[in-house]
């Protein structure tokens, strides 16, 4: 009702009026326009500063991570990965240890990027024995699988592949999957 009376009051101002609801915080249009222009300027300045710093500083990073721009691994599809598993390929789970415990490709070893420095020395001998390594992650974004695959290939492990499907697709295809054990209730 209040907005109705406001509308009628404002209408009395004459033809060409524009209804403006009262009681709502609003900023004048020129202020908003200036603010938005400045927001764009801030974005451009941040992009320029980031680009300049990363080009000049020794710790700067490139446009693409090395595992994308200079990949030492190859992608492998679901059915081909299964064939390789039958032929003796070793699977590496690059996800968090918690997710690994919650379900994984049967026979896969856990090697997440965060624990790479700690786990790798323990697994090195086992990894060296496998002719083919297939690394998988959580999603199709290929991180952390691509990162782990790059590190393994850099360390001289023969053939390193990254699974281009998700673990859910692997499981749905009916391929060997290790689910967590259910605890029996006493």
């Amino acid at each position: 009702m209040a907005s109705c009376s406001e509308f009628l009051d404002q209408r009395k101002a004459g033809p060409g009026f524009r209804y403006k609801p009262a009681g709502r915080p609003s900023l004048p249009r020129p202020v908003l326009r200036t603010t938005l222009r400045r927001c764009l300027l801030i974005l451009a300045m941040a992009a320029a500063a980031g680009l300049a710093f990363n080009l000049a500083a020794p710790q700067g990073i490139g446009w693409l991570p090395a595992e994308v721009s200079r990949p030492l691994w190859q992608a492998v599809g679901l059915s081909r990965a299964r064939e390789l598993q039958k032929a003796g390929a070793l699977f590496i789970d690059a996800r968090d240890p918690g997710r690994y415990r919650a379900g994984r490709v049967r026979g896969a070893l856990s090697l997440p990027p965060e624990e790479f420095g700690r786990y790798y020395p323990m697994l090195r001998a086992q990894l060296k024995q496998a002719a083919t390594l297939v690394v998988y992650g959580r999603s199709r974004s290929r991180w952390p699988a691509a990162w782990v695959a790059q590190e393994l290939a850099r360390r001289g492990h023969g053939r390193v592949l990254v699974l281009s499907a998700t673990l859910e697709q692997w499981r749905a295809a009916g391929y060997p999957f290790k689910a967590p054990r259910r605890r029996r209730r006493p």
Binding site: P25, L27, P30, V31, T34, T35, L36, R38, C39, L41, I42, L43, M45, A46, A47, A49, G50, L51, F53, N54, Q59, G60, I61, G62, W63, L64, P65, E67, V68, D96, G98, P113, E114, G137, R138, S139, S141, R142, W143, P144, A146, W147
Partner: protein, 154 residues
């Protein structure tokens, strides 16, 4: 009353400036580490991670610096609110997927796990940014030194 509002605005501005500069200096100085933190969420394709992480880190630093010196406060506050909304969204996503790792928000990373708690914290940080957007402080601010600008901010 006017003085009280100015004091609150000044407090919000300095708090947000400290928060953003503290959160960003490590990300700016060690871009590879922050890019790895961003990649861990698996929200972006790998080719977009480096560019987005560099832009985000410098945006945080620039917005924090502008708030500290009190220049373009309203625009900086709008960016700060936008950044907090973005971070809160990412933290909600982290909560949904059950990520138990460090959120990568602050240097050191101890005690800042990604998830719903961090999302609530980021939404809380949005409040001073929104306050500043509507009531930018003129005290101890470069904006306040320019008479035309001061009139616009009132």
């Amino acid at each position: 009353m006017k003085i009280a509002l100015q004091v609150i605005s000044l407090g919000c501005r300095l708090f947000l400036a400290w928060l953003l500069i503290y959160a960003s200096y490590d990300k700016v100085w060690e871009p590879a580490g922050f890019a790895a933190s961003m990649a861990r969420y698996e929200l972006l394709p790998l080719w977009a991670v480096n560019g987005a992480s560099v832009l985000l880190a410098w945006l945080e630093l620039l917005v924090g610096t502008l708030l500290l010196v009190g220049l373009w406060v309203r625009a900086a506050a709008l960016w700060a609110a936008g950044l907090m909304a973005l971070f809160a969204g990412i933290m909600i996503y982290a909560g949904i997927i059950g990520a138990g790792y460090d959120c990568g928000c602050f240097p050191g990373g101890a005690g800042h796990t990604a998830g719903y708690g961090a999302a609530l914290r980021d939404l809380g940080f949005m409040l001073p940014a929104l306050w500043l957007f509507f009531l930018p402080s003129r005290w101890l601010a470069l904006d306040g030194l320019r008479p035309g600008q001061a009139a616009r901010l009132r």
